[in-house]
Amino acid sequence: MTPERPVPFRGGGFAPRRRRFVALAAFAVLLGAWELAGRGGWISPIFLPRPGTILGALGDLVRSGALAEHLGASLFRIAAGWTLGSALGFAAGLAIGLFSLARSAGIPIVSALFPIPKIALLPLMILWLGIGEASKVATIALGVFFPTVIAVYAAVDAVPRNLIRMAQSFGVPPAAILRKVVLPGAWPAILSGFRITASIALILVVSAEMIGAQRGIGQFVLQAGNLMIPEDLLAGIVVLSALGLGIGALIGTIERATTRWR
């Protein structure tokens, strides 16, 4: 008789998928364990307050109305700083992406100025712009500007040249090529840049509010650190994280709405 045996299955695996409830369960387990460890005295509240304490601090913030004040002040700074930095960075990035002169001058300048820590500039910011909103907005705008420039010119560089040649061959005028080919082609990469710069704006609001802020979520976090009140500090960080998630979701929505063609 001819021997015969089944071919064993050798495929499968290496294709991890995300399951929503698993993430939620993981969070719940983590927080639960943390809470229990805190209650059981395994973790000192001086080092790491338990989630319940942090939630309590957050509740105090909401009830006293302080959260709304802090958020209002910070959101204005983030929105103004991000918009200003993005608008200027977009214009500069576009110029570098399109024109040889701007490119030759711009790229070395950006490379030289980008790595300067913005916190080191705070005293200068105060001298130039005072301790009001201007210096806070400018600190965020400055932090947002350089990554935007780089994201935009890299995005413009990555637009396939053959599409631009195509448009030229059909006699499309240069301004229309910019509007109809270059910008739509660069848009997805620019949006990715916006995702990063929005996070940078959130990080920098803490630095910006080092400049004599009377309120603001960054100021609240700084003060909690100075006063060594860890539950307040962590509550502030929870608020910052929630802001980050919110802004990320907003950009995600814009992304889905404007890049359906992908």
């Binding site: 396939p160 599409l163 059909f170 080919v181 063609w261 992908r262």
Partner: protein, 259 residues
Amino acid sequence: MDLVVSGVGHAYGALPVLEGIDLHVASGEIVAVLGPSGCGKSTLLGIAGGLIEPGAGAVRLRGEAPPRCLNALTYVFQDFALLPWRDVAANVALPLEHHGLGRAEIARRVDVALERIGLAEFRGAWPRQLSGGMRQRVGIARALVVEPAVLLMDEPLSALDAQTRDLLLEDLIALWRATRFTALYVTHNLAEALRLAHRVVVLSRRPGRVREVVEVPFDPDARGTPEANAALARIQERLWGLIRDEARDAEREILAHDA
């Protein structure tokens, strides 16, 4: 309208790619330029359409433009060059948008162009949703929508599989029968050139020079009879003898290059 290429030469730095090219594409005629990779075919097409400045010589258009012509020279690209963020109709509309036409007029002309190449039902599709053959049909519709005098086709079928290529060739022949378009058709594929062209211009390898011009004795839509096939087979054999050594050299070079 005739396209006249006279004495065109070009070099990339010290590397000459074209030398003394003379060509005449008469109205209603399809002229194929055949040559191995690296013979400067694409450069020639770029020069013909005004996208590359020639190092020597000149390209002229002779005669009256066809009625309703908005753009005398339009391209069909090997890689289709569709805008992925525009649907089919909007891609075809692109060349019409800067001629001061009304919205309705643009839509009407787009519809005609889509109809002509069998794309009417795909007008709302995104390019990514289309097969290669359908994408190139969009490219052809876009090139024709402005009623060009001469169509410049840069290896338009090279990115497609053999079966799709045959289907598209049939479409192009039907289109020629209906519209008598004029075309300069660059290809490295001998069979394709013999199916479509009235005349085949064979270029040598670097620098590209005209080695031979072969008249094909049947109109594109009259090929396929046993008599025509026999005549075409003889031409094909002769041309293959002419180009096979250079084609092999070209292939070797590319392989050496990769290594």
